[in-house]
């Protein structure tokens, strides 16, 4: 690697391809992506819709398996895992933050944050304790027994962040985390994410907002299922080849 670093490699993908079938027609969402992500890195993926960034995100988050190519997560070959192992992998090592929060509306804030720990088989007492601590960190201690639809967008996204963090994942994948928020709340959330990064959490975020992308250390621009260019400095909109 050209840039000087002594951080360990967390993710290593070589020639990643992913083809979907929409009916009979194959759709090549990824056409050979090589990427490395180091532990503690903060990376943003940019690109227009259809560029393959969502597919990239799903693969990075172990929600999906590549059609071709190799994907190693902390040395583990993801292609070879079955559903049980892949689910466990997602559960313990990946935290998702989505644009639309994706909280379960029938569960309280507390229960939503506890949920990943439940699938991890952790006892109720420990779950409660950990969830409470995380919710305290995102300043939602007063909302524990509320339901997501009783909360504001910013609060919901903080719950989602707490849920993502509660398992102490190796990586946080944020898909347009500020997409549904106003500027002020968006900034709050970005501050929260930047704070996580400072604590050493690896973060990959997908966005097409230049302002959001500029929070990251590294920006990757994707187009037509490939990486088009990579930046290691702050960018402006006209630097992107659209």
């Amino acid at each position: 690697m050209s840039h000087a670093t002594n951080r360990e490699c967390l993710i290593e993908a070589v020639g990643l391809e992913r083809t979907y079938y929409r009916g009979e027609t194959p759709v090549k969402a990824l056409r050979g992506v090589d990427i490395q992500i180091e532990k503690g890195e903060f990376m943003a993926i940019m690109g227009p819709s259809g560029s393959g960034k969502s597919t990239m995100m799903n693969l990075l988050g172990c929600l999906d398996k590549p059609t071709a190519g190799q994907y190693r997560f902390d040395g583990v070959e993801i292609n070879k895992l079955d559903d049980m192992e892949l689910s466990r992998f997602r559960n313990r090592r990946v935290g998702f933050i989505f644009q639309s929060f994706n909280l379960i509306n029938q569960l309280t804030v507390m229960e939503n944050v506890e949920l990943p720990l439940m699938y991890a088989g952790i006892t109720r007492e420990e779950r409660r304790e950990r969830a409470r601590k995380l919710l305290d960190n995102v300043k939602l201690s007063h909302r524990l027994d509320h339901f997501p639809n009783e909360l504001s967008g910013g609060e919901n996204q903080r719950v989602a962040a707490a849920r993502a963090l509660v398992v102490n994942p190796d990586i946080i994948l944020a898909d347009e985390p500020t997409g549904n928020l106003d500027t002020k709340t968006g900034e709050e959330i970005m501050n929260l994410i930047a704070g996580l990064h400072e604590q050493g959490v690896t973060i990959v975020l997908v966005t097409h907002d230049v302002w959001v992308a500029n929070w990251a250390e590294r920006i990757i621009q994707m187009k037509d299922g490939k990486i088009l260019q990579e930046f290691r400095e702050k960018i402006t909109a006209d630097m992107l080849q659209l």
Partner: protein, 411 residues
């Protein structure tokens, strides 16, 4: 994830949609209700039949006189059949193997009097062995003795109802009662015999608590005209081994046909066989009710499956979220399967109560005995679990196999 967590999820999901869950349960409620009602009716009928058979005695054969009419009667007179006679009574133990005792039963309806009290009763002329054959003994005093029969003594043993009506709380033993023109000394009072009041029974059993027993010889001497000597109403035969009952009955029938000159003026009743017959009738009833229950459960199960499929579609997003944060296919499957089982078991429990209620109503208005057994409750519970598993499997699998990415993307 331990099982309690799934249970909790199931419980929550049901309580969040109370009306829908209740409507979903209806099929199972009725199905299980029918199962319980059916089994309690069957259990009651079984119990009733057994009780009746016990009244008659399982090791007994009853020979009943058949009233002949018209040509048959002329034929009997012509050939000289005497009907059920004392001769038969004496002959049976010699001819039929395994006979322990034979008691003649001659019934004569008459009023029993004591001082100025009267009670409608039934005088039964019989012999010493009656109490053993019928398995019905005096509570106080004694039964007819050999000497009573030999000397045609004027003694009697009162049925418990008659004793109460004539003597109230006084001890009747040693007292005298008047039957027709003669006074009889009371030497015993019979036990209380359980009787059944309903009409759903296959065997007619008279209320033996109104019987007054006197020696058959006394009856011939004092109550009957000469022409009525023969023609016992009934002979009760007790066999010493229950396996011999049916072969003995066959031999008995052949013997009686011979002594009655080939005239079939008697009928052989084997309580044991009647029991089997009653059970066969019961089986038909069970098949019909079972079919109703099965159809109801099938419809109920399909109803549950239908709702669960809708629920799965409605909750695709939730499935996607759960999968993203680490739920395995198996977790999702168990979650939905558990919800279905929760619904069907809840329905089953309500159904058990409803079945019990139906049984109660049937007992009260149709006057059928019903018995709700532990087995019925356990099997109803098992059936509702089974319905949940069988009909929940497909929706649960559908939920589990959903592509997490598409599930997450759906709105």
């Amino acid at each position: 994830m331990d099982y309690r967590e799934y249970l909790e999820i199931g419980y929550k999901s049901i309580t969040q949609h109370k009306l829908r869950s209740f409507l979903t349960m209806l099929g199972v409620i009725f199905g299980v209700g029918a199962v319980i009602a059916m089994m309690s009716i069957a259990g009651g009928a079984q119990k009733a039949a057994l009780e009746q058979i016990k009244l008659l005695g399982t090791n007994n054969i009853r020979v009943k006189q058949v009233e002949l009419t018209g040509e048959q009667r002329d034929e009997a007179e012509f050939r000289g059949s005497m009907g059920l006679s004392l001769r038969d009574v004496n002959l049976i133990p010699q001819v039929v193997p395994g006979v322990e005792a034979v008691a003649p039963i001659k019934i004569f309806d008459v009023e029993i009097r004591h001082q100025d009290l009267k009670a409608p009763g039934r005088v039964v002329g019989t012999s010493t062995q009656y109490d053993e054959v019928v398995n019905f003994y005096p509570e106080e005093g004694r039964f007819i003795s050999d000497l009573d029969v030999l000397e045609a003594k004027k003694v009697c043993i009162l049925g418990v109802d008659i004793a109460k009506e004539l003597f109230k709380l006084n001890n009747p033993i040693g007292e005298k009662v008047k039957i027709e023109e003669n006074w009889y000394t009371v030497v015993g009072v019979m036990q209380t015999k359980a009787i059944r009041k309903d009409k759903s029974t296959v065997i007619e059993v008279r209320n033996m608590n109104r019987d007054v027993y006197i020696p058959i010889s006394t009856m011939f001497n004092r109550l009957l005209s000469f022409e009525m000597y023969d023609n016992m109403n009934e002979l009760a035969v007790r066999i010493n081994n229950q396996d011999l009952v049916i072969p003995a009955a066959k031999i008995l029938e052949r013997m009686l046909l011979r002594t009655h000159k080939g005239i079939r003026d008697f009928e052989i009743v084997i309580p044991r066989q009647l029991l089997a017959q009653a059970q066969r009738t019961q089986q038909i009833f069970n098949v019909v009710m079972g079919a109703i229950a099965a159809i109801s459960l099938l419809v109920g199960g399909i109803g549950i499956m239908n709702i669960m499929l809708a629920t799965v579609t409605e909750r695709i997003k939730e499935i996607g979220i759960r999968r993203a944060i680490g739920a395995t296919e198996r977790d999702i499957m168990l979650q939905f399967l558990n919800e279905t089982v929760f619904i069907s078991v809840s329905g089953g429990i309500i159904g058990i109560f409803m079945g019990a209620l139906m049984a109660e109503v049937i007992t009260r208005y149709a006057e059928w005995d019903t018995v709700i057994s532990g087995i019925a409750i356990v099997s109803a519970f098992g059936i509702s679990v089974l319905v949940g598993v069988v009909f929940g499997m497909y929706p649960a699998q559908k939920a589990a196999r959903m592509d997490p990415i598409q599930a997450l993307r759906s709105e």
